[in-house]
Symmetry: C2
C-alpha cells in the first residue's frame, strides 16, 4: 500500500545534511512542488495556508496602525525604473523583461516588478498636493520577480510572494518613527506569533536597500547556525521624492518634499519557521500560523463510540481552533508520523479507555510531551496548552540561539570559535569602515548582519584593524 | 478652498454619456488611478477594499465547499502553453512574453499567465495517482495578463485580479455537478450580496472557453442596457487530462482520465456593481461589499455634546458594521455629497436636536429615503435598514432589467424594439446553427449571451432562419 510505504520514508537527518533535510521537509510536508517554470515554485495548499495565516495576522496589524491596501500594476516601464539612480543600479541586473505583448513588440520594454517603489512614487506624485493629504500609509500584497541564479524553496525563488508597505510623511521624524514602528511590528510578530527570536538593528552602509537612507532588519538564527534576514524596514528620506518630484504645500503655503519609508516581509518567513523549529521528524509549526492547530487521532476507532466521541470533540474544538479529525483507515502509527511530519502543534488521542475515564491524551509536537487531560473544559485546556507550546518553542529557539551566539574580540577568535562550536551569530566590535567589514568576511566567512539596537562594549577596538571601535556588530553567514 | 470646490464638481450625467459617467465615477469615487503602465490601472484603497470584501465572502464559500487555495508560478513556458491545441489558439495571440531575465536571453520564452489551466494540469499530472487523490479542489487568487487593445477600468485591462478554480474529479458526473455548484455560488453571491440579478445558462458552442466542453455564464444587465458577463464556470471533460497525460488508478486498478472544471470571477464585478447600481450622484454600493457601510455626519458639530455623541455611536456601531465618522471641518453639505459619490449605503445624521430627542436620522443612499429612528437598539435598527437597502437595491435593479428585457420573434421586431426602448436583453428563439447566431448579431447588433436555464417557448421558429427552433437564447450587446 502506498500509504504504509509513506510511514517508513525517512527524511535526511539535519545533522547529516541540513540542506537536504530542508528540501525533504518542504516536499514531504506537502508545502511545495516544482514545475517546468525554473526557479519558481508551486505553493501547495498546506504551504499556502501558512502564508494565508501570516497574511491575516500581519494585515490586521497593518490596518490597526492606519495602513490601507492598494494594488499597483505588475509591470514597470524602463524609463520609470530608471528614475532613481541607486535604485535602478540595484535592481536592473536582476529583472525579467517583457518586450512583446499581443504579438507586437512593445514601444518601450517593461520589467515585471522586482519591488514597486517607482510605481508608488509615480502615483504619490499624482495624488499628494497638500499637507492635508499626508501621511499616506499604503501597503500591497503581491508577487515580485527577481531573476536569481541559485534558488531554494521559500528562501530564494525567482518569483516570491510578499507585502510591501510604502508610506509618505510630512516630516523626517514622522517617517523615521514609521520605519521603526513597522520594524517593531515585524519583530513582535516573529517573536510572539512565530516563536522565533530576532536581533533588531540597522544594516551597515554597504548593506542598505538600493536608494534608502537607512535600512533596518530583523535577523533570525537558523538551526544550522546561519542567519536569515526575516524582514526589513527602510527610511528613504526625500531622495525618491526629489527624483519623482513629489511635493506638497505645507501649512505656511510653501512647497516641501515629503519623507518616505518602505518595509516588507516575504514567504521566506516560511523558510525561517522551518529552519528555526523543524527537527528530524519534520516540520514544527507555531500555533498562530499552523493550518491545523490540533489533529484528533481516534484510537481503536472501530470500537463502538470512539468515532462518535472524536466527531463530538472535533465540533466542540472547531469553535475556537483549526482542527482536523483523521478518521481514515490508516493506522494510528502512520497518522502519528504523518502529522508530526506536517508539524501540527498538538495531537489529541482518544480511545475507548479514555472515553470511559472522561479524558484524552494531548501530545505536543515540539517536545513530544504527553499529558492526560479531562474532557471537561477541554477548549480551555487546549488554549492553555497551545500557549504553552508557543512559549516552549520560543524558549527552545532562544536557547539554541544563545548556544550559537559568540562574543569575539579578534579575527583568530572568530575563526577558532566557529571551527569549534559551529556557525552562529558572532558579536564583535567594528570601526565603521567598509574595508574592515569586507575583510572580516574574507577572513572568517561571516558578514555583518546588523548593528544591534542592544549595544554592548566588548572592547574599545575594531575586531579587524584594532583602531577605535564605533559599534558592536552582529555577524553571521547569511541565507 | 479645495474642499468647497469638490462639492460643485459635477460628474457627467448617465443619460448624456454613459461611458463618460462611468470613468468620472471610478476616478471621483477614488476607486482607481492611471499610471505610465498603459492599459493597466492602480487599485486605490477604496477600490481595493471592495475587492477585499468580495474576496473574503467568496473565499469563505469556496472553503465551505471543500476548496483549498494554492499559488502557481506567474509564468508559463511556451511549450507548456502549447500543450492543448484549442487552448493555445485561444490565448497565444493575447499574451505578454518574457524573453530576457537577469540580463540574459531565456532558453525558452515564457508568457505571463493569461489563465493557469496548463500549470494546474502539469501539477495535477504530478500529484494525482489514485482514486484516493480525487477530487482535487483547488483555487488561486492572483493577477493575470491579456494584452487587450482597448481597455476600460475594471471591465477590460491588460492586467486584472481574479480567482481561478481548477478541479479534478473521478467521474464526468462529479465534474459536471461541480461546474454547476460553482456557477450557483457565483449567481447567489451576485444576486444576494451584490443585489444584482443575473441570467444563468450555458454559452453557445462558438462562445465557449478555449478548450472547454461546456461554458456556463452568469449575465447581468447594466444601466445602459448592455450585458456584462459576471462569472463563468467551465466543464472540461477529459480533454486537458489527455493532453497532459493525467491519469489515476481506479478502485478496479484500471487507469482512467479524470474530469476537470475551471471557474472564475474577476475585478470586473466591481464594474458590474458600478453600472448596475450607480446614479448621477455617483457610486451606490451593496452593503455586503461596501468598505464603509455607514457614515456618521455630525450636524452643528461645534455645539456641545455633538461630537461626543457621534463618537459614542461610532464605537457602538463599529461592533457590527464598517463605520466611518467624518468629524472634519468640511460642511455637512460637502460631506453629504462626498459620501453619496462614494456610494456609502447608509448615512447617519446626528445633531443637538436629535440628541435631545434620543434619535438620529438615517438616509439610504440608493433611494435617498430619510427615516428618524430611536437611539435605543440602534445596532438592530441599522442591521434591518441595511437589509432593507440590499433588498431595495435588488428590486430596483430587477425592475430596470424587466423594463429592458424584450421578447422578440423576428429580426425586424428586435431592431424596432431596440430602436424604441433602447438596449437590453433580447429573448428570441434559435435553431442552434452558428450561421444564424452570427447573422442575428450582424443584422441587429446583439450577440448571444447565454442559453438561459429558464426556458420559455416564444415560438417554434428560429428568429433568424425560420427553421425549427431548438432553444430560447438571451441576446445582448456585451461589455
Amino acid at each position: 500500500m502506498a500509504n504504509d510505504k509513506k510511514l517508513v520514508e525517512q527524511i535526511t537527518s539535519m545533522e547529516v545534511d541540513f540542506a537536504k533535510w530542508y528540501t525533504d521537509v518542504v516536499k514531504k510536508a506537502d508545502l511545495i512542488d516544482y514545475s517546468s517554470v525554473k526557479g519558481c515554485m508551486i505553493y501547495r495548499p498546506y504551504g499556502y495556508a501558512i502564508w494565508e495565516n501570516i497574511q491575516s495576522i500581519l494585515d490586521s496589524r497593518f490596518k490597526a496602525t492606519g495602513h490601507e491596501n492598494v494594488y499597483m500594476p505588475m509591470f514597470i516601464p524602463e524609463t520609470l525604473l530608471n528614475k532613481e539612480k541607486d535604485h535602478v543600479e540595484g535592481f536592473a541586473p536582476e529583472v525579467a523583461w517583457v518586450e512583446r505583448g499581443g504579438g507586437e513588440p512593445l514601444a518601450e520594454r517593461m520589467c515585471v516588478r522586482p519591488t514597486s517603489e517607482t510605481l508608488f512614487c509615480e502615483h504619490y506624485a499624482n495624488i499628494i498636493r497638500s499637507y492635508r493629504d499626508l501621511p499616506k500609509l499604503y501597503n500591497q500584497w503581491c508577487s515580485v520577480v527577481r531573476w536569481e541564479k541559485n534558488t531554494r524553496p521559500f528562501l530564494r525563488t525567482r518569483e516570491f510572494l510578499w507585502q510591501e508597505g510604502h508610506t509618505m510623511h510630512a516630516t523626517a521624524e514622522e517617517a523615521e518613527a514609521e520605519t521603526l514602528q513597522m520594524l517593531n511590528i515585524y519583530a513582535n510578530f516573529c517573536e510572539h506569533d512565530l516563536a522565533m527570536p530576532v536581533v533588531k538593528g540597522p544594516k551597515t552602509e554597504s548593506d542598505k536597500f538600493a536608494g534608502a537612507e537607512a535600512t533596518y532588519a530583523i535577523e533570525a538564527l537558523m538551526h544550522d547556525g546561519k542567519a536569515l534576514q526575516a524582514g526589513t524596514s527602510h527610511y528613504f528620506g526625500d531622495g525618491f521624492a526629489k527624483a519623482f518630484d513629489i511635493r506638497y504645500t505645507d501649512k505656511n503655503n510653501e512647497l516641501q518634499y515629503p519623507h518616505q519609508t518602505s518595509w516588507g516581509v516575504t514567504t521566506r518567513l516560511i523558510g525561517a519557521i522551518i529552519m528555526t523549529h523543524g527537527d528530524d521528524n519534520g516540520l514544527v509549526l507555531p500555533p498562530a500560523v499552523a493550518p491545523t492547530q490540533l489533529v484528533i487521532v481516534p484510537i481503536a476507532q472501530h470500537k463502538p463510540g470512539v468515532l462518535e466521541k472524536a466527531n463530538e470533540l472535533k465540533e466542540m474544538l472547531s469553535r475556537d481552533f483549526r482542527v482536523k479529525l483523521d478518521d481514515s483507515d490508516n493506522s494510528a502509527g502512520w497518522k502519528f508520523s504523518e502529522y508530526e511530519m506536517k508539524g501540527v502543534p498538538l495531537r489529541l488521542e482518544i480511545g475507548p479507555r479514555d472515553i470511559e475515564n472522561g479524558q484524552c491524551v494531548l501530545v505536543s509536537r515540539h517536545n513530544r510531551e504527553k499529558s492526560i487531560v479531562s474532557l471537561e473544559n477541554l477548549n480551555e485546556t487546549v488554549k492553555a496548552k497551545l500557549e504553552e507550546v508557543r512559549q516552549g518553542m520560543y524558549e527552545k529557539a532562544l536557547a539554541n540561539r544563545a548556544a550559537h551566539s559568540y562574543d569575539c574580540t579578534s579575527i583568530d577568535e572568530i575563526n577558532a570559535t566557529l571551527e569549534q562550536k559551529g556557525d552562529g551569530f558572532v558579536y564583535a566590535m567594528w570601526c565603521g569602515e567598509e574595508e574592515c567589514e569586507d575583510k572580516v568576511k574574507e577572513l572568517t566567512g561571516v558578514g555583518s548582519r546588523c548593528i544591534p539596537f542592544e549595544q554592548r562594549e566588548l572592547s574599545d577596538k575594531c575586531v579587524c584593524c584594532g583602531k577605535p571601535a564605533k559599534t558592536l556588530v552582529c555577524w553571521g553567514k547569511a541565507y
